[in-house]
C-alpha cells in the first residue's frame, strides 16, 4: 500500500499540469461548496465536458478533489451566517452559528477545518487499505432494511436536539417527516399533498427548505431584535480551539469517523446522512444533551468529521463495484466513461496508476483543507464586521439565488420564504429547527428504504428482526425513544 501511495504521490506532483488541476480542484471545491444552492455539483457539471480533454487520471482526480473540499466548503457559511452550503453542512449550523453569536466563530471554523481534514484523511487511509473487502461486505450485509433501521435510530436520537422541551423536539421532527411526505410516494409514484401543483410532485427540495429554516428565519429574528432595540451583533472571535479542547473531543472525532465511514460506504446514501448521524451520535453519547443546539463545539466537530469521513468511503462502492454513492460520484462515472473506462473491480487491474493517483489526491486534498482553511478563516471572519443592515439583504439575495439556481423553479423561492416564516414562528415558540430539517432529510431516505425493505421482506415486519444489524439498530432506537419518554415525564421542565 505504502509503495503504491508513494507512486501515486509521485505521479500527482511530478507533473506541473496535474498539480495545477489539483490546486484548481481544491480551491474550486471550497468556493463552490461555500455558495448555497450552487454547490460542488454545479462546478462538477460545468467541468464535466472539459474533462474529456484531460488524461483519465487527471479527470477522475479533479472530481475526487472537488468532492473532498466541496464537502468542507459549506461549513464556513453555515457557521458564520447560518447558511449551510449544502445539506451535508446543515448539522454544522446547529451549533456552529450559535457559537458565532457567542463570539466563538473562530473556534467553530477552526474546529470545522481541523475535523474535516481529520475525517477526510482517516477516510482516505481506510479507503486505500481496504476498498475491495469493505465494498463486498457492505453490499452483502447492508440493504434497505438496515438503512431504514439506521435512519430510525438517527431520528430517535436527534429528536432531542434543539427543542425547548423533549415534546417540542419530537413535534419538530414529526413536522419535518410530514413535509418529507410531500411529493410522489416512493413505491407507486402516487402524488401526495401537491394540491394540484405539478412542481410539488417532486417534493420539497432540501436546499430551499434549509435556506429558509436557517438563513431567512435568522434574518427575521435579528430584524425583530433590531426593531425592538435588542439586537446584539455577532462578535468576531479569532480564538482557535486549543489542543486540550480538541483532545477532549477525541472520542467524538473517532466516533464520527466510524459513523461517517459507515454511512459513506452505503450505495446511494453519502455524506448528508453521515453528517446527521455523526451529530446525532454526539448527542446520544453526551451527558449534557440539552447543550446541543446552543453553541457546543462538539456539535461542529461531530458533523464536520462525519461528512468528510464519508467522502473517502463513498469512493469504495464506486471504485470496487461501480456503484456511485451520491450525485457527485455518479458524475465521476461519466468521467470514467468519457475515457472508455468503467469503475469497478477491473479498474484496479487495468488502471492501477489511475486508482492510486486518485487515492493520493484525496489524501492531500484533505490535508489542504487544513492549511488553506486556516488561512481562509483569518480573512473570512471579517465578513461578520459588516453591519446588519447591509449584511441581511446580502444574505437574503444570496439565499434567494441559491434557492432558485438549484432547479430553476420559482416554487423553490416560495418554499424558502415559507420555510423562513414558519421557522421564525416556530423558533419563537421553542420548537426545533434542527429537528424539522432532520425529519425532512432523513424522512425521505427512511421512507424510501422502509418501502423497499417491506417489499423485500414480503410485508412481514417481523422479518426485519431476523437481520442482526437491523435488529440492533431498531432496538437502540426504541431504547432511545423510551429513555426520552421517561425523561419527559421525570423532569418537570420537559412537560411543557
Amino acid at each position: 500500500m505504502v509503495e503504491n501511495f508513494l507512486a501515486g504521490t509521485a505521479a500527482l506532483f511530478g507533473d506541473p499540469f496535474t498539480v495545477a488541476i489539483f490546486v484548481f480542484g481544491v480551491i474550486g471545491g471550497m468556493l463552490f461548496g461555500a455558495i448555497p444552492g450552487v454547490s460542488m455539483l454545479t462546478l462538477a457539471a460545468i467541468l464535466l465536458p472539459f474533462t474529456a480533454d484531460l488524461e483519465p487520471a487527471q479527470g477522475v482526480m479533479l472530481f475526487a478533489v472537488i468532492y473532498c473540499t466541496g464537502t468542507y466548503g459549506g461549513a464556513i457559511t453555515a457557521i458564520l451566517f447560518n447558511i449551510p452550503g449544502a445539506p451535508e453542512n446543515a448539522p454544522t449550523a446547529f451549533d456552529g452559528y450559535p457559537m458565532t453569536r457567542k463570539g466563538q466563530s473562530g473556534k467553530a471554523v477552526g474546529a470545522a477545518v481541523l475535523c474535516s481534514a481529520i475525517g477526510g484523511v482517516a477516510s482516505a487511509l481506510v479507503m486505500m487499505a481496504a476498498t475491495e473487502p469493505l465494498a463486498n461486505w457492505a453490499i452483502r450485509n447492508i440493504g434497505p432494511p438496515e438503512i431504514f433501521a439506521l435512519v430510525f435510530f438517527g431520528l430517535a436520537v436527534a429528536s432531542s436536539v434543539g427543542g425547548r422541551t423533549i415534546w417540542k423536539g419530537w413535534m419538530s421532527v414529526l413536522l419535518g417527516l410530514l413535509i418529507a411526505t410531500i411529493g410522489q410516494d416512493p413505491v407507486g409514484g402516487i402524488n401526495r399533498y401537491n394540491f394540484g401543483f405539478t412542481d410539488l410532485a417532486a417534493g420539497i427540495a432540501f436546499v430551499p427548505a434549509i435556506l429558509g429554516f436557517f438563513a431567512v428565519s435568522e434574518i427575521f429574528i435579528q430584524a425583530e431584535k433590531k426593531a425592538t432595540g435588542k439586537f446584539d451583533a455577532p462578535k468576531v472571535g479569532m480564538s482557535f480551539p486549543s489542543a486540550m479542547e480538541l483532545w477532549m473531543h477525541k472520542f467524538a472525532v473517532l466516533r464520527s469517523i466510524l459513523v461517517g465511514f459507515f454511512c459513506g460506504i452505503l450505495p446511494g446514501i453519502g455524506a448528508t446522512l453521515a453528517a446527521f448521524m455523526g451529530y446525532g451520535e454526539a448527542v446520544r453519547w453526551s451527558k449534557n444533551k440539552e447543550e446541543f443546539g446552543t453553541g457546543k463545539l462538539e456539535g461542529v466537530i461531530s458533523s464536520e468529521t462525519a461528512n468528510n469521513a464519508a467522502t473517502g468511503a463513498a469512493m469504495i462502492p464506486l471504485l470496487a463495484l461501480g456503484l456511485p454513492g451520491g450525485a457527485l460520484t455518479a458524475m465521476m462515472v461519466a468521467v470514467f466513461q468519457m475515457h472508455d473506462l468503467e469503475p469497478g473491480p477491473l479498474v484496479f487491474y487495468n488502471s492501477p496508476e489511475l486508482i492510486w493517483i486518485v487515492f493520493a489526491a484525496m489524501f492531500y486534498a484533505n490535508l489542504s483543507i487544513l492549511f488553506i482553511g486556516l488561512i481562509e478563516t483569518k480573512t473570512i471572519l471579517y465578513l461578520l464586521k459588516i453591519p446588519f443592515q447591509f449584511l441581511a439583504p446580502l444574505i437574503l439575495l444570496l439565499a434567494t439565488i441559491g434557492a432558485y439556481i438549484s432547479r430553476g423553479l420559482v416554487l423553490d423561492v416560495m418554499v424558502m420564504f415559507g420555510a423562513g416564516i414558519i421557522g421564525f414562528l416556530l423558533r419563537r415558540t421553542g420548537y426545533s429547527i434542527p429537528g424539522i430539517v432532520l425529519g425532512l432529510i432523513l424522512g425521505k431516505i427512511g421512507e424510501q428504504n422502509f418501502a423497499q425493505g417491506m417489499q423485500m421482506v414480503h410485508y412481514d415486519l417481523g422479518t426485519y428482526f431476523s437481520r442482526p444489524i437491523c435488529t440492533i439498530l431498531i432496538a437502540a432506537g426504541a431504547l432511545t425513544l423510551a429513555t426520552g419518554v421517561y425523561r419527559a415525564f421525570a423532569s418537570p421542565t420537559n412537560k411543557a
Binding site: P49, I139, G143, Q184, V187, G189, I190, L323, G344, M456
Partner: protein
C-alpha cells in the same frame, strides 16, 4: 387481451421496420443548412427532466455535444428533475415557444399521457426532433448464482418460493417496467415481488449483494456489470434475439406472447415554435445523431444493438403506437385512465 397482443405484435413489427428504414438517414451527406433568419443567434436551452448523472442526463450531454460540434451553437442544459419527468415537462410547456428551448424526454412522457390525457402528448403537443435511443429490456441474474442459471430454472425456482422471490426495477404506477412484469407474471403464472428503486446504484447493488433475486433493466445501463461478468441476462424482452445477445432467449421463445414495450429517449420542441426554426432544429438534431461523438456514445451504451433512430415522422409513429398500447393495457389492468 389476446386481441391486444395481436395488435401489439403488428405494431412492433412496423416499429422495427420503420426504424430500419430511418437508420439509413445517417448515410445522407447533408452536413450544412442555412440558419433561417439568423436563428439561432444565441445558445439554445435544453430542459432535461432528470438529473445530470443518469441515462437521460448522459444522452442530453452527448446530443448537445453532437449538435454543438456540427453547428457551433452552444446548448445549455437545465436539469429539472422530479415527479417522474412531470416537473421538467411542466417547466418546458411554460417556456417561450420560440425555438430556443428544446426538451429531452423519455417514454415516461408517453405513458403519462396515456394514463392522463390532460398531460402533454409528445407526438402532438410537441414536435419530436429526433428519437436517438431506443432499447429493449432484459432480466438479469448474478453470474455466480447457484439456485438457477437460465430463464426456465428461474421461473421454476420463483414458483417454488410461493411469492417470496424478488426482482428489482424502477416500477411506479403505470411504468413500462410494471406493465411488462404484469405481462410476464400473467404469462408464466409465477408470482414475484417487485422492489422499486429510483436510483441505479442501489438497484444494481441489490442484485450484486444478493438482496434481490433478479433485476429488470436495459442492457446499456448494466453494461459494465455485463462486461465485468457480474450479471448475465436470462431473458430478452424483444421480438428477436439481438446479435450481441444471441444466446439469450426472447420472451416469445419462452412462450410469452406479448408486445414488448420499448424504452426510448428523444428531443422535442414546442409545436407552436416558428416552422422555419423547427426545420433547422430537426436538421441539427437528426444530424447530431449521426455525429461520430454521438454514435460512439450510443455504441458504448448498447444503443446500436437495435435501431435507435427515429426522425420526426418515425418518432410520432412510435409515440402514438406506444400511447395507444399503454392506454389499452391500463384499461385492461383496471387503472383509472383519464
Amino acid at each position: 387481451m389476446n386481441r391486444l397482443f395481436g395488435i401489439g405484435v403488428a405494431a412492433t413489427m412496423m416499429m422495427v421496420a420503420s426504424g430500419a428504414a430511418n437508420a439509413f438517414e445517417c448515410k445522407v451527406k447533408e452536413a450544412s443548412m442555412d440558419k433561417p433568419g439568423g436563428f439561432p443567434e444565441r445558445a439554445l436551452t435544453m430542459i432535461v427532466p432528470y438529473g445530470p448523472a443518469g441515462g437521460s442526463g448522459q444522452v442530453a450531454a452527448a446530443m448537445a455535444e453532437g449538435v454543438t460540434g456540427l453547428t457551433g451553437v452552444a446548448i445549455n442544459r437545465d436539469h429539472k428533475p422530479g415527479g417522474s419527468g412531470t416537473v421538467g415537462m411542466t417547466a418546458y410547456m411554460a417556456s417561450p415557444a420560440d425555438g430556443y428551448n428544446v426538451l429531452e424526454h423519455i417514454d415516461d412522457a408517453s405513458s403519462a399521457h396515456a394514463l392522463d390525457s390532460s398531460k402533454p402528448n409528445p407526438a402532438t403537443d410537441l414536435i419530436p426532433l429526433v428519437i436517438s435511443q431506443v432499447t429493449f429490456s432484459q432480466i438479469y441474474i448474478r453470474t455466480n448464482e447457484t439456485r438457477y442459471n437460465d430463464w426456465e430454472s428461474f421461473v421454476a425456482w420463483v414458483k417454488a418460493q410461493g411469492g417470496k422471490a424478488t426482482i428489482a426495477n424502477v416500477s411506479k404506477e403505470g411504468s413500462m417496467e410494471r406493465v411488462t412484469m404484469k405481462f410476464i407474471t400473467d404469462a408464466t403464472g409465477m408470482e414475484i415481488q417487485q422492489i422499486s428503486f429510483d436510483k441505479g446504484a442501489p438497484r444494481y447493488g441489490a442484485l450484486l449483494g444478493g438482496q434481490v433475486d433478479a433485476l429488470f433493466e436495459q442492457p446499456g445501463d448494466v453494461r459494465k456489470f455485463l462486461d465485468a461478468g457480474n450479471f448475465k441476462p436470462i431473458l430478452t424482452i424483444f421480438d428477436e434475439r439481438p446479435s450481441v445477445f444471441a444466446d439469450v432467449p426472447t420472451h416469445r421463445e419462452m412462450g410469452m406472447d406479448f408486445d414488448p414495450l420499448l424504452r426510448f429517449r428523444g428531443f422535442y420542441v414546442h409545436k407552436d415554435a416558428p416552422a422555419d426554426r423547427v426545420k433547422w432544429l430537426q436538421w441539427a438534431f437528426q444530424r447530431g445523431y449521426c455525429q461520430d461523438s454521438y454514435q460512439a456514445f450510443n455504441e458504448s451504451k448498447f444503443m446500436n444493438v437495435i435501431d435507435s433512430y427515429r426522425d420526426t415522422a418515425g418518432a410520432r409513429d412510435l409515440i402514438t403506437r406506444s400511447v395507444a398500447q399503454y392506454r389499452d393495457v391500463y384499461k385492461a389492468m383496471g387503472m383509472d385512465v383519464k
